[in-house]
Symmetry: C14
Subunit: 92 residues, 14 copies
Amino acid sequence: MSELSLVALVSILTAGLTVAIGSFGAALGEGRAAAAAMGAIAQQPDAAPMLSRTLFVSLAMVESSGIYCFVVALILIFANPFWNAVSASVGG
Amino acid sequence: MSELSLVALVSILTAGLTVAIGSFGAALGEGRAAAAAMGAIAQQPDAAPMLSRTLFVSLAMVESSGIYCFVVALILIFANPFWNAVSASVGG
Amino acid sequence: MSELSLVALVSILTAGLTVAIGSFGAALGEGRAAAAAMGAIAQQPDAAPMLSRTLFVSLAMVESSGIYCFVVALILIFANPFWNAVSASVGG
Amino acid sequence: MSELSLVALVSILTAGLTVAIGSFGAALGEGRAAAAAMGAIAQQPDAAPMLSRTLFVSLAMVESSGIYCFVVALILIFANPFWNAVSASVGG
Amino acid sequence: MSELSLVALVSILTAGLTVAIGSFGAALGEGRAAAAAMGAIAQQPDAAPMLSRTLFVSLAMVESSGIYCFVVALILIFANPFWNAVSASVGG
Amino acid sequence: MSELSLVALVSILTAGLTVAIGSFGAALGEGRAAAAAMGAIAQQPDAAPMLSRTLFVSLAMVESSGIYCFVVALILIFANPFWNAVSASVGG
Amino acid sequence: MSELSLVALVSILTAGLTVAIGSFGAALGEGRAAAAAMGAIAQQPDAAPMLSRTLFVSLAMVESSGIYCFVVALILIFANPFWNAVSASVGG
Amino acid sequence: MSELSLVALVSILTAGLTVAIGSFGAALGEGRAAAAAMGAIAQQPDAAPMLSRTLFVSLAMVESSGIYCFVVALILIFANPFWNAVSASVGG
Amino acid sequence: MSELSLVALVSILTAGLTVAIGSFGAALGEGRAAAAAMGAIAQQPDAAPMLSRTLFVSLAMVESSGIYCFVVALILIFANPFWNAVSASVGG
Amino acid sequence: MSELSLVALVSILTAGLTVAIGSFGAALGEGRAAAAAMGAIAQQPDAAPMLSRTLFVSLAMVESSGIYCFVVALILIFANPFWNAVSASVGG
Amino acid sequence: MSELSLVALVSILTAGLTVAIGSFGAALGEGRAAAAAMGAIAQQPDAAPMLSRTLFVSLAMVESSGIYCFVVALILIFANPFWNAVSASVGG
Amino acid sequence: MSELSLVALVSILTAGLTVAIGSFGAALGEGRAAAAAMGAIAQQPDAAPMLSRTLFVSLAMVESSGIYCFVVALILIFANPFWNAVSASVGG
Amino acid sequence: MSELSLVALVSILTAGLTVAIGSFGAALGEGRAAAAAMGAIAQQPDAAPMLSRTLFVSLAMVESSGIYCFVVALILIFANPFWNAVSASVGG
Amino acid sequence: MSELSLVALVSILTAGLTVAIGSFGAALGEGRAAAAAMGAIAQQPDAAPMLSRTLFVSLAMVESSGIYCFVVALILIFANPFWNAVSASVGG
């Protein structure tokens, strides 16, 4: 049965690192975009509504790449095809 | 029973690293956004309410990516499907 | 059957790292582009529509390289030719 | 009994690294925010109350991500579910 | 048959890392180019058409180097000559 | 008895690294905040009292994350629950 | 026959890393050159034709170094003299 | 007796690294604060007494985090509870 | 015959890394030079011919160091004296 | 006797690395402080005596953290309690 | 005969890394010098001849350090005294 | 006698790395201080004597931390207490 | 005879890395000095002779540290005392 | 006799790395100092003699730390006390 738990170990480790690295990048990118947005609002207060819209679209785009990682991590934890295949072959 | 504890070891290690790396990135991104917000308020005090709103929305977005990691870490510690599967197969 | 699970392990690990690294880069690049876009809108509000169009095209380009990684990761998880070949040869 | 102490070793190591990395990031982020706050107060002394409020909210947000790590570390040291499960199975 | 799966393992790992690293670089380069383009449009709105053309040509060039990696990764996954050779020699 | 000393080794190593990394980050963050405070006092001497208060609050916040690490290190050295558990099970 | 597949493994790994690292550098260099070109066009629109020519020559030069890597990778995958020699000696 | 010397080895290594990393960070932070202090005195000589006081308080704060590491290192060398416990159990 | 393939493995790996690292550096250097050239043309359009000449000479110099690596890589792949010597001694 | 020399090996290695890393940080910090002091004197020659005093106090503070490492290194070389304990237990 | 091929392996690896690292540095240094030269020509077109001379002398100096590496690499490949000595002792 | 040479190996390695790392830091710190000194003299030639004095004191301070490493390296090479102890115990 | 070739292996590897790292540093330092020289000539053409002299002296100084490495590498390849000693002891 | 050659191996490796790292730092430091000197001469040609003197003294100081490494490397190669001791004990 050692194979089944090996798949478990690697899935756990990979899920954690994937979401960690992806969130790291997303946090840096969002921080940068938000910082620029606030500098821009301070420089041109009249454009604030336009800038907020642009900021939120951009944050959504950046967040999306962090969410890819989150999705992959959850797939690896909760819907891992390899886990199913291996446990099936073990159960058989 | 060694497999069960192997899963435990890897889950512990992964949970810790995941929340550590994710918080690291979130802290850097929030620090940057907050720094820019204060610079902006100092430059354009009249826009302070607008800027605070933008800052808090942005901090929430950045925090969210740190929270993904926290969630994954807690899932790994308290609701680890692999742990359940392996301990079930061991208990059987 | 150990080979089959070895392929599984490596596919899991690779899928996770691929999407993690690719999203990391995409997040940084999008953050930078979005930051510049907001600085530009603040400096030249009249060009805002032009700038938004340019920003969204650029974000799409950058996102595309993050999506290559996402695609490769999903191929490795759900349509992995090596997995099929090896499990076929095992099943035979 | 070796498994029990293995879980102990990994929990100790992970708890330490988690709080170390998380505090590292929190310290950098808070230092940056505080530095910007003081620059802003010097540039716009009249906005000092507003700026202090913003600073303290931001420091609290940043601190929170350091605290996630502290919480996870303490969970790993004092309320480690895997430790309980493994020591139970050992005691049985 | 172990050799066949070894080739599979290394091909999977290499394909993932190749597209990950290549997309990382492409994302950074495109982010930088797009950021500069938006700064330029803001500074010289009259040159916007010229600038957009230059931007899209440049993004295409940068994307091309990310696509080399994508191509190599797909070759390694779907048209891997070594895989064919080794599986032929194994099948013989 | 080898397990007991293994726990000792890992606790020693982890305690040292934890306080080292945590102090490293705290020192950098405090240095940055203090540097900004002095620049701000030089630019706006009249706000010196306000700035000192802000500086000391910020230094305390930053120091606190260094202190989390110090606390965890001391817990690991002087009040290590795993050490107690393992030495009890050994003494039994 | 293990040698033949060893050569295959190393060729696969090297081809992937070569094109990945080379494309990474090319993408950074092209991004920088393109960014400067757009800044220059914005500053001196009259020199745009001259600047475009210079940009495309430079992009070609930079791309060429990425292409060296692509060439070496394809040589390693499709025209690998060592593979031929070793498989010949194996076939003999 | 091998365990006793293992504890000695790890304590020596940890003590050295702890004080080294901690002093490294403290030196960087103090250098930065002192540099800013001198720039501030040059810019605002009249605030020199105020600035010196702020500098010395800040240096003390930064130094303190270096001293945490020094303290932990000396505890590990001269008052190491694990060493005492292990040597007691060995002596028994 | 294992030695012959060992030489092959190391030659393949070295050739790939050599051209990869060398192209990486060349791409960065050329990107920087080209970026400066375009900034210079924008600032001093009258000196464009002089600047182009200088740029192309410099790109050639930088490219040359990338070409050294390409040459060494091709020597290692196609004219490897060690390979010849070892295969001769094996053939003897 | 192997343990005694193991302690010797680790003490030598640790002493060297400790003083090396500590001096590295001290040198960087002092260089930065001295650079700022000279810039300050050039900007405000009348404050030179004040600045020299501040510089020398700061250099002493920074040097002190390098000296902690030097002290620990000398303790490890010339007054190593573990060495004495282990050699005593060996001599006994 | 294994020694002879070991020398071959290490010589191949070292030759490649040497020329790769050396070319990397040379490319960066030349790129920087060329970038500065073009900025200088743009700022002071009358000094162009003087600047070109200085640039070419400097590029030659920088190139020379890349050439040292190239020379050492070729010595290791084509005139390796250790190879001769070892193959002589083997041939004897 | 293997222990004696082990101590020799580690002492050689440590001495070299210690002086290398220490000199690296000292060289960077001195270069920075000297660069600032020359900028200061150019800005304020009348303060040149004062600045030279400050520079030489600072260089001496920085050099001192490089010299600590040199001293430790020479102690390890020429007056290594562990070497004497171990060779005595061996000679006995 | 294995020792003789071991010395050969390590000498080859060390010679290559030594000259590679040394040339890398020299190339960076020379590039920086040359870049500054050209900026200086452009700013002050009348001082060009003085600046060229200073540049060439500085390049010679920087080159000298690259040459130390080249010398050590050649000593290790062509006049290696350990090689002679070991081969003598082997020949005896 | 294996010990004698082990000492030789480690001495060769350490000598090379020591001079390489030391020269690397010295080259960077000298390049920075020389760059600043030329900027200073361009800004204040009348102070050129003073600046050259300061530059040469500083280069000598920086070079000295590179020379420490060179000295230690030559000691390790040509006057290595451990080598003498070990070869004596071997010869005995």
